[in-house]
């Protein structure tokens, strides 16, 4: 399971770079269903970097 989890983390991170349209649609559908709030990890990133990007909640634009 650990290898699969690492692979998913890596691929979803790469998605933020490559922006595969099918994957973007899937993510958008999920996020719209659950109105994703900032995770602990994202909060960490915001705290470290300074300000909140409100586009974060939107799909891979």
């Amino acid at each position: 399971m650990l290898i699969m989890e690492k692979r998913l983390k890596a691929l979803f991170d790469y998605q933020r770079f490559e922006k595969n349209s099918r994957l973007a649609d899937i993510v958008e559908q999920t996020e719209s269903r659950y109105k994703v709030e900032l995770s602990d990890e994202e909060l960490f990133l915001v705290n470290a970097a300074g300000e909140i990007n409100t586009d974060k909640e939107k799909p891979l634009s």
């Binding site: 399971m1 699969m4 989890e5 690492k6 692979r7 998913l8 983390k9 890596a10 691929l11 979803f12 991170d13 790469y14 998605q15 933020r16 770079f17 490559e18 922006k19 595969n20 099918r22 994957l23 899937i26 993510v27 999920t30 996020e31 269903r33 659950y34 994703v36 995770s39 602990d40 990890e41 994202e42 960490f44 990133l45 915001v46 470290a48 970097a49 300074g50 300000e51 909140i52 990007n53 974060k56 891979l60």
Partner: protein, 161 residues
């Protein structure tokens, strides 16, 4: 390999948008994101002679440079804090695992899952939510979300073998 200005211009033209977009999705400060993007291009130009097209595409390689730059940034910026799991756990994933084609495989695997399991995977690995938080969002227990998560991972594994 001679790195000409023409090659640098082409790389910048091809990848500036992707690199900046990636960094902006991780660093929510536009000025800082631009600075880090510039750092990435400096490294890309410096290391271009180490690029091996047999190991990875230029896109994957460029992404790896950007990712490593972000990892270095967070490690040096918050040395006393825990590094975000995305940058701590995935660093040893081989470049060969990361490609545009594999994103299509991931999309195939996700589309094959029931909606609830698909949502769990996206919320966990894209949005970075914990299973506990996901369980609360979905209105199910932690034990059950963990069970669905493991079932989804097992099903997805078939697509990557």
């Amino acid at each position: 390999m001679l790195i000409t200005d023409e090659i640098k211009t082409k790389l910048y033209s091809d990848f500036h948008g992707k690199i900046l977009g990636y960094i902006q999705s991780r660093v929510n400060n536009p000025v800082l994101a631009e600075d880090l993007c510039a750092d990435v291009f400096l490294k890309v130009y410096e290391k271009l002679d180490t690029f091996d097209e047999k190991k990875a595409s230029i896109s994957t390689w460029t992404y790896t440079v950007a990712r490593n730059t972000l990892t270095d940034f967070y490690r040096t910026r918050r040395v006393t804090e825990e590094i975000p799991e995305t940058y701590a756990d995935g660093s040893d994933v081989e470049e060969s695992v990361i490609s545009a084609e594999m994103l299509d495989v991931l999309a195939d695997a996700l589309e094959a899952l029931p909606e609830r399991e698909r949502d769990i995977i996206v919320l966990r690995y894209y949005s970075g939510q914990t299973l506990k938080d996901i369980g609360q969002k979905l209105g199910i227990s932690y034990a059950y979300v963990k069970q669905l998560h493991n079932k989804a991972l097992a099903q997805m594994r078939d697509f990557f073998e």
